[in-house]
Amino acid sequence: MDGPAPPFSLPRIDTEAEAGLQEFLHDGPVVLVFAHADCPTTLLALRRLAPAAGERIVVVAQETVPDAARLARRAGVTGPVLADVAPHQVSQLYQVRTVPTAVRVEPDGSVAGVVEGWDRLALEPLVGVSLPDEPPAQKPGCGSRTVELEYRGGLDEPEDMFERGFSDGLPVVPPTRDRVEAMLGGRDPSGSLGTVPPVHGEATLERVAACAVLAGCRPDYFPLVLAAVEAVLEPSFNAHGIGVTTQPAAPVVIVNGLARDRVGLNSGMGALGPGFRANATIGRALRLVLSLTGGAAPGGLDRSTLGHPGKVGLCIAENEEASPWPPFHAELGFPADSSTVTVVACDAPLSVSDHRSRTPEELALVLARAAEATWSPFWWPMDDYSLFVVCPEHADLFGEAGWDRRRLAQFLFDTAVRPVAELRHGETTPQVWTAPDEGTVHKWTSPERILIVCAGGDAGRYSAVFGPCDGMQTRPVTREVQWTT
């Protein structure tokens, strides 16, 4: 906007007395900063502006007086703060679409400039101060609460996302151009990771970024999302089969290395979810790429009879700190200080409680018996990959006895063996029908089909086994996370 600044009067948070625009203009120009408490960009901008600008800025918070005071405390604002309570008439008067919006008003009452979002180089001359030269130099703002009011009256943005089909059934973050650009972090939007079966939509970086925005990812999660998408598009993963099968198949994403702390992934209590943004949204972003860009939407080309709750998205981080074993990715040959994403196509998890075993043999027997029930109780052998998520207390029992992953996998394989005569029921394999009556068969074709990671809280003895997507000929795929653009 330009021309004269509309006059107004709003309560100050310190005195609750009304203050008018004019009284801030006695000592020179002032910058009105429109803000609300739900916007991370607003917090960032206020934290950097407040120490440098002091009384030169007047915060106009789209909040009640107490909420505006809380915002001021969180952001370290000591200068004047006004509460523009709903329906935020002053924000509407100034046609604010985004927070933060900084509006410079000269002593004669004219508007001299407007900056939306956080933009250090634009804000320095607007406010007339030097601001800290720290990344990010720019960050898009968030929707003004006045815009939200408009949606209530007419077009509702979350409903609009459902109308467009931009959803997995849950509400999403609208993939505005600003948000997608921030997610891309300077990457070429037209770059491609390949096509996503079954419809072979092209996974341009821009579309993958749109999915990451929809899922609720922060931009710093994006390198992990990219690694996960790259991994599922590796032909040996068989994303086509996993996407369209009647099985309850879904990719489990396993993260190892420094990336876990860098983006705040949970590997401890509740490691399989829910409750942690990075876990929930990285797994969800991958699923959105598969179901929207790839067209494997449930009830459409995804023909899964039941599905399972993990198909919303399932991203776990190995609890390397609590594990007695080297990190999963290090055992695959990746440097221990690298960060990796592994995708494994699995069925729904089966929880295994055991608080009584005191020897590794006893505990491994319990895990083996649980795994024998996966896929189908009489279907032996399985030739795809089973994933054991071993909790720290269980892992400690194995570790203290000197059992490494290989020994545990071998024991599970050796223990899960049955006479074929016991297995000739219902759905079973040709091997079981054709083997001699005195023959035996293992649950897996090889110990190599058993994957083991350690995750979960340090109290409680519950592990889990994810059965395989048997018959899919899917292979786990690991990709190193590339942090640079």
Binding site: G201, A209, N238, L292, T293, Q473
Partner: protein
């Protein structure tokens, strides 16, 4: 508001199905077995009925049911038939 779509517009329009044949007599029909359990039995029965209707049949197998057919299998279909019957699932 302008949004970035997660969809590839090239995939928005499904390929339309070919028209159904008016008659089967004298037509060449490929019977494609994707190797799902009992798919072969189903195709055996279909072959008998097609023969009774005066059609010629030719059997082809996919390598595995869990993955798309290879280019080689796809290319062989028009060499041996004008029509295809696929046994999709058990």
């Amino acid at each position: 508001m302008d949004y970035v779509s997660p969809f590839d517009p090239r995939t928005a329009e499904p390929v339309p199905a070919a028209p159904r044949p008016e008659r089967l007599e004298g037509r060449r029909v490929v019977l494609l077995d994707i190797r799902k359990a009992r798919g072969a039995q189903f195709l055996d029965r279909i072959a008998v009925r097609l023969a009774a209707a005066g059609a010629q049949t030719f059997r082809l197998d996919k390598e595995t049911f869990s993955k798309p057919a290879s280019r080689e299998v796809i290319d062989r279909v028009p060499l041996h038939g004008d029509l295809v019957v696929e046994a999709l699932a058990d």
